[in-house]
Symmetry: C2
Subunit: 480 residues, 2 copies
């Protein structure tokens, strides 16, 4: 370690206390690997400031020493965005205070280190809903959700994380603090800085707190599970439902037959939702803050019309809250049970909703032609045009041989997405895993604008360097 | 005119045709003054390109010549943002094609010069709603709405213009075209460039086209007019309504007694909506895409509870579409009738919704103390926390003497807004009229970030220079 780097750690230790500057390899371990174990990083230390001012101090000292900073929340990301290759890990975990709940304004002000579940729970205490909901909600932290503009199952009704953020507090690359913690529905006092930081994956600034918007808590809910003949029929159903129940349609999730087959095969307690088999399934949820509204009646009206029109083959509407949970369980088991079917090659993509059925059909055919026996598990947030286009290995194939084709299938699937003017990163972000693909699929002018912004806001390139983009002069860190 | 400038106009004339480079003072007149006639500008010429490529050509040539460009749509802005002080006016009016309507994706792709009303009409043809709605919708152009992040009466349910923009096409300061015309609900392929341009008032780039999001067209609607004892009671009513009918509450507008008095005095066809007089009025609209839903029943349930709780003094629910229009007419006449009461000093401010009643009461008292006899007309988008805090002159005062106090009242009102962590520019933008006030009320780090972004994206400072902000080295253009 050079003197400068060693001095930096001494300064940070003196300022934050020895306990908050972790150098022990074993204690650092959980900060260096990520959820899917695709990457293993290395760092000088893990630094755990306890306040915004301490975050600012750490950034100032790192800027002086020219040492890179990798901000980290719950370290549940799926794209390698939180993996350090150099410099320090800056953990936001100790900034976990709920600063304010304002029920009349329908806002909550939280620090970046708050666990998502804790934010949801706090909202519920004032009979409100914080709608961001995703698989890792018990361990991901809101700062990470903001940094990656997380999606999830409620985007159809409530938007992405971006849409839930009214204000931010951010530590900039030079250690200055921008206080943008306003809880306003309308504010045109100059450029929109907030959205620049949301989704920038810690490369432009470090989010330390946010004002988030809350909604009236739903008081009635109806869940239905529908069997359709094809993705195209499912799209017809979606269009009818949205046009009629637009405001109440909270989720519209898609599963192909193969997905339901492996769920029923592996998931504990999974029960067949319908009598026969269908090529395409939709899980639908309607909800409303009005306890008196009859959502069942509303969904029945649309479904009976759709049955008559031949769009729907079969359907079940949950008769109880418990039955609704059981239907959701089918969808939520999917990530888990795929692991039990061998190797998976995954894509998190989005296309215009009008093209989502075309995409599923076209990409499925292309993959099946490229590798006979491959089992396509294209599921997810159909109503957002966001499909987790996952491929399970052919039954008889070696897992490693299948996974060796990762890049080949990326090209096949992402080319189709690109032709449909879609996104190769819908809700998980870019991080390391899609950084170099961005160069293939992103408008070059947009890429250049991104570099311009990065250079303007972080001229030393110390904030999460090498993630999302590389600067022209910079060599990318070696991928593992 | 210097040779460079004269050469520029020759080049533009040769490229676009003489008809599209207007130099005649009479023909230029309507481009040089703005709606409220607060500013009169001057320009070398008005240039009217007919395509994105032509816009790019104009910008490239201006960049070469170092000549400033003031982009202009319908020239209906209220803050002087479209007034030229130098260089050319670039009119987007000829870029008025609807490029695509995708009903299944619920999107419309439009060019910047489309009149807002034309976009609304086009959406209606496919049984959809484009919800942006404001007084000037018959003449404002969508590019201007995007450049100023326009608000209006439907923000409560559908958001600001920003929230309706899925993708953009922008000509940058060097004449390059960024094609970001994606119609996706989820896209995390790098930094959010779109929101940087939305609301930047033409100072960072020139919006030439956009993908906008559509909604199911409402099939049922209920309008009510409510009398309350105070702004605080009105806030209680708003909270109850939102919690129960959240998804259907499309508008919640506020008018004080004085506002209704002058509407009934001056507006043609205005009829007293309720029997007696009340200190505070709310105009409420509920709507739903479901024709079968009984919105009247839903609003009655909330109102009868609110009457019992003493929150509401009196209420009327429109019995017909025509009666609903008549109630809206009371609200919509307000801007017009204020002019008939002499001079007005206006403020377009927002505070957290929880503070909107406090704000109205506190600011009203402060203004009445500062100038006995002043008549406060604080009305507007209560549900967004956005109040048009307008002051009508004391009856016996000279109009000029009253208007001479504009800055004094700005200080009084904006200081209160600032103390409540509000915005001194809620929906109209900054332009020239609030540029120098921004320096007083904006977080200095945010202002510095804005300057950094401006310098990075427009290093020559040729895009609408002197609007929104001044760069440190630059002298502001003389205010009229």
């Amino acid at each position: 370690m050079t003197d400068t780097r060693s001095d930096l750690l001494d300064i940070l230790t003196a300022s934050l206390g020895a306990q908050q500057v972790i150098r022990d390899p074993d204690a650092m371990e959980s900060y260096l690997v990520e959820e899917r174990r695709l990457y293993r990083g290395a760092a000088l230390a893990v630094v755990r400031p306890g306040s915004t001012e301490e975050v600012a101090l750490v950034v100032r000292e790192c800027a002086k020493a020219g040492v890179a900073i990798v901000p980290q929340g719950g370290n549940t990301g799926l794209v390698g965005g939180g993996v350090p290759y150099d410099g320090i890990v800056l953990s936001l975990a100790r900034l976990d205070r709920i600063r304010e709940v304002d029920a009349f304004n329908a806002t909550i002000t939280v620090e970046a280190g708050c666990i998502l579940k804790a934010v949801q729970d706090e909202a519920e205490k004032v009979d409100c809903l914080f709608p961001l909901s995703l698989a890792s909600e018990g361990s991901c932290r809101i700062g990470g959700n903001i940094a990656t503009n997380a999606g999830g199952v409620n985007v159809l009704r409530y938007g992405n994380t971006r849409d839930l953020v009214l204000g931010l507090e951010v530590v900039l690359a030079d250690g200055r603090i921008w206080n943008g913690l306003k809880g306003l529905r309308k504010d045109n006092m100059g450029y929109d800085l907030k959205n620049l930081f949301v989704g920038s994956e810690g490369t432009l600034g470090i989010v330390t707190a946010a004002v988030l918007t809350l909604f009236p808590r739903p008081k009635s809910r109806t869940v239905a599970f529908i069997g359709c003949a094809s993705p195209h029929a499912t799209l017809d159903l979606f269009d009818r439902l949205r046009r009629r129940t637009g405001d109440q349609l909270t989720a519209f999730e898609f599963m192909p037959r193969f997905a339901l087959e492996i769920v029923l095969k592996h998931a504990a307690g999974a029960v067949p939702p319908l009598g026969g088999w269908h090529e395409a399934y939709a899980l639908i949820e309607l909800s409303s803050p009005d306890p008196a509204i009859d959502l069942r009646e509303r969904i029945e009206a649309v479904l009976s019309e759709a049955l008559e029109a031949g769009i729907v083959e079969d359907a079940v509407i949950a008769a109880s809250e418990a039955q609704g949970e059981a239907l959701w369980h089918l969808r939520e088991s999917l990530s888990h049970v795929q692991r039990l079917e061998g190797g998976s090659i995954k894509h998190d993509v989005a296309v215009p909703v009008s093209k989502v059925a075309d995409f599923i059909v076209t990409a499925t055919r292309a993959c099946e032609e490229a590798l006979p026996g491959v089992r396509v598990c294209a599921f997810g947030h159909f109503g957002d045009g966001n499909i987790h286009f996952n491929l399970s290995q052919p039954v008889a194939m070696e897992k490693a041989a299948f996974l060796a084709q990762w890049e080949r299938f990326n090209r096949i699937v992402h080319d189709i997405v690109h032709d449909m003017n879609g996104s190769i990163s819908a809700e998980h972000g870019v991080g390391l895993i899609k950084r170099d693909e961005l160069v293939l699929y992103k408008d070059p002018v947009a890429l250049d604008l991104m570099r311009t912004l990065k250079s303007a806001l972080d001229p030393q390139n110390i904030l999460n360097p090498g993630k999302v983009l590389t600067l022209e002069a910079e060599l990318p860190p070696a991928l593992p």
